[in-house]
Amino acid sequence: MPVDAQFLAELGRIVGPDHLVRDEGELSTYESDGLVSHRSRPRAAVLPETAGQVQAVVRLCRRVGVPFVARGQGTGLSAGALPHPDGVLIVMTRMNRVLDIDIPNQRITVEPGIMNLEVTRRVAPDGYYYAPDPSSQVICSIGGNVAENSGGAHCLKYGFTVHHVVGVEAILPDGEMIHLGGAAVDSPGLDLLGVLVGSEGTLAVVTKVTLRLLRRPESVRTLLAAFDSTDAAGNAVSDVIAAGIIPAAIEMMDRTTIRAAEAAVSPGFPAAEAVLIVELDGPQPEVAARFEQIEAICDRNQGWGVQVARDEAQRGRIWRGRKAAFAAMGRVAPSYYVQDGVIPRSKLPEVLRRIRDLERRSGLTIGNVFHAGDGNLHPLVCYDDAVEGQAELAEEVATEILSYCLDAGGSLTGEHGIGADKACHMPKMFDEADLATMRFLRRAFDPAELCNPDKLLPTPRLCGEVPGPYRAHPVEAAGVAERM
């Protein structure tokens, strides 16, 4: 049954008329996430304030057979929060309270609409922080992080969202409320929490989250080194890992993204083919010893122009350069595609070389700024819409890069998720039996297939469509946030 006047009236009664959005113009705010090439307008959006309201909305949708999609801050980059054209969008931004801070047990319980960085802000006075740090952390929600299993520069050492969520309250697609995990570390039963994290909003709507907090490390040191080729920088990364060192972060930028960063925030990076930013944290003597090893590795790989941050200001400058790179790409290219493929970190030199060759062959500039320590690439394929055929070429090039990642034994996505954007690529990585097994899980949660349908797993309806190019998210374009 479709969305009709009676259904809408009932939605309004649940969330209050002020928090029901029906106006076409207002609905356009919600028609895409950070991947603006995918657009679709929902029949209505609701902004609930309590878990009870979320539950009532889901129950109503289930009763009538209307699809629903949860949305956090809409910064996702895989069209995960893309609305269903016949459905309801459940916008979680009003549910953004901190419910409990428990420092002795290193826990915080929040509503999912809270911003990632706000969590750290709330516990910083006690010397604690929330580790996963997507570069969108000022503008993305914990609910979105839970759904995407988001990462960040410091996830190399500290793990991803899934390693830091200990409990959730969620509304299942049939409207039942469940609690998975808790404040304590282990709960008897199947680890449904471990699979709910990263399920891209397709299994349930999360209404409460308990997170693990970490103590600030005793000391932090940051180094930047330049290289004459991405090969050499990639070799240095492989050498660091092979030496048994797990830094807090190892990030790489290439010539194109260095240029973009310089144009935007002048961090004083050397004009090199590549730079590495390496950060170590932990007990002071350990950091000092490892730091020497890393300097030697950079040396061995012909690194030069080494800059060591001597204080917080210098460290901030280096990271600003790194973080601005993405948003600054607009200064060197009118448009670009971004990919999120992952490769084994020992294969960095090999895959980067293939990308260089592709760049030469295609005639398109391909920038790269990425989480090198994890092997998580973010190739940026630059093109000009005004040039006939370039957009299509860029798309082909981006898809070819994904195939390099898969050839190397890697993955389609390291942190941005599959969403609607890459669902049709899933068969390149998983065979029919793998996908059918994933469907077992989805059906167990959502037999009626109403919860964020057409995401994550390929469907015929979806896979007729062609994914579009990347365009800057409005917040990003405004320079508020940067992408990593």
Partner: protein, 427 residues
């Protein structure tokens, strides 16, 4: 009787026939699962053969229990009958050690100690120190999400696993995740299977992120005057920015083992700091290294896992640790039970070994469960005699997620052949 034997033998030849490379034979006393002799023992020599055995069992509605090292077969509710005991012993290879990537792919039947001996060639290890490491297999450890003291630093298997291949109940093979350390493509079925106690599918291989072997290690052995000090020491250490890899308590009498692994200077310095912290609190300390250190850790594990009686896992929040131990002491005395405890003071994970009348043990478990609010802990019985397991539910309350867990079980194993009734929450 001969009729049953004839039927069984026919089934055995059928298994061998359909699962090339499977060795099937009649079960014997030595194969007993929780006192029940399985009709058939199958030891497939390849992943294909595992899948074929499952396909056969599924077609014929036969129950299957998986055995790795056999160290945890007595876990779970009592068993009535086992049709097929599927041994993973023949699948024991380290398939790939990508030392440049700090990852490894291991077959389910490989023994933890053997895996780590192989990984040591490149000064790396799979950072799990679950009990019975000399016998326990990777498949069993992952299926039970079991871990040891160094969980404090490295986390349990669910935090280390990055990919899995599995054989489904219907005999189809599937995979999840991959070989890269960062990956969000698709549902993370590897995590779902971790801790599923063999009730959703049979783990064929698991891929993990590894850790570099530490250059140096020191352990502070501390004798405290009161159990109340456990939490103080644990909190004191962490508040001083120490980075211990294990913060273990043992009781009674109250002792602790605090482990520091890093470069030599840091291990020594942090051990000394910890020793000073304990001394300031009036405790006695010895700092251990090398063979003495290894021996202390072996004794620590053996205190619980090397002895007889019931083993239960008690999880609480670290802030509830002292009160819980006091309550446990009082209850054990009142019920005339012997109770020994070791565990992760920094995490609130304790293992109890109980001896005494089954009815008294059952009261103790019920009493503890009654005092733990939802989400703040649990008591799960790991190993116990049949009597205790018939008196008290081994899992305890699983919470309002149970109906959904049943749905998941139904989708993965619609005929209910995998470890029936013995999965978490009685799945």
């Amino acid at each position: 009787m001969t009729e049953i034997v004839g039927l069984r033998d026919a089934l055995i030849s059928q298994i061998d026939g359909c699962a090339a490379g499977a060795v099937a034979r009649p079960g014997t006393e030595a194969d007993a699962v929780d006192g029940v002799v399985p009709a058939i023992v199958a030891e497939p020599g390849s992943p294909e053969a595992v899948a074929a055995v499952l396909g056969w069992a599924s077609d014929h509605g036969r129950s299957v229990v998986v055995r790795g090292g056999g160290t945890k077969l007595g876990w779970g509710p009592p068993v009535d009958a086992v049709d097929v005991l599927l041994s993973t012993r023949a699948l024991n290879a380290v398939e790939a050690h990508r030392h440049g990537d700090l990852t490894a792919t291991v077959q389910a039947g490989a023994i933890l100690a053997d895996v780590n001996a192989a990984l040591a060639a490149h000064r790396q290890w799979l950072p799990l120190d679950a009990p019975h490491g000399e016998r326990a297999t990777i498949g069993g450890i992952v299926a039970a999400n079991d871990s040891g003291p160094r969980r404090q630093r490295h986390g349990p298997p669910r935090d280390l696993i990055i990919g899995m291949t599995l054989a489904r109940a219907d005999g189809v093979r599937a995979k999840s995740g991959g070989i890269v350390v960062k990956n969000v493509a698709g549902y993370d079925l590897a995590r779902l299977l971790t801790g599923s106690f063999g009730c959703l599918g049979v783990i064929l291989t698991a891929t993990f992120k590894l850790a570099p072997a530490a250059e140096a290690s020191r352990t502070v052995q501390a004798t405290l005057s009161e159990a109340r000090q456990f939490a103080q020491v644990a909190a004191g250490l962490l508040a001083r920015g120490a980075t211990p890899t294990a913060v273990e308590l043992a009781w009674p009498p109250p002792t602790m083992l605090l482990r520091f692994e890093s470069i030599a200077a840091v291990a020594v310095q942090q051990a000394e700091q910890a020793a000073a912290l304990v001394r300031d609190g009036g405790g006695g300390v010895t700092v251990l290294a090398d063979a003495d250190e290894a021996a202390a850790w072996r004794r620590h594990e053996a205190r619980i896992f090397g002895g007889g009686g019931t083993i239960a896992k008690l999880v609480v929040l670290p802030s509830d640790l002292s009160a819980t131990l006091a309550r446990l002491d009082e209850a054990a005395r009142g019920l005339s039970l012997d109770c020994e405890v070791v565990g992760r003071a920094g995490l609130g994970v304790l293992y109890l070994r109980l001896t005494g009348a089954a009815s008294a043990q059952a009261s103790l478990v019920r009493g503890l469960r009654g005092r733990i609010p939802a989400g703040r802990g649990s008591v799960v019985i790991r190993r116990a005699d049949r009597e205790l397991r018939s008196l008290v539910d081994v899992w305890g309350p699983v919470g309002d997620g149970l109906p959904l867990m049943r749905q998941v079980k139904r989708r993965f194993d619609p005929r209910g052949i995998l470890n029936p009734g013995r999965g978490p929450g009685g799945l």
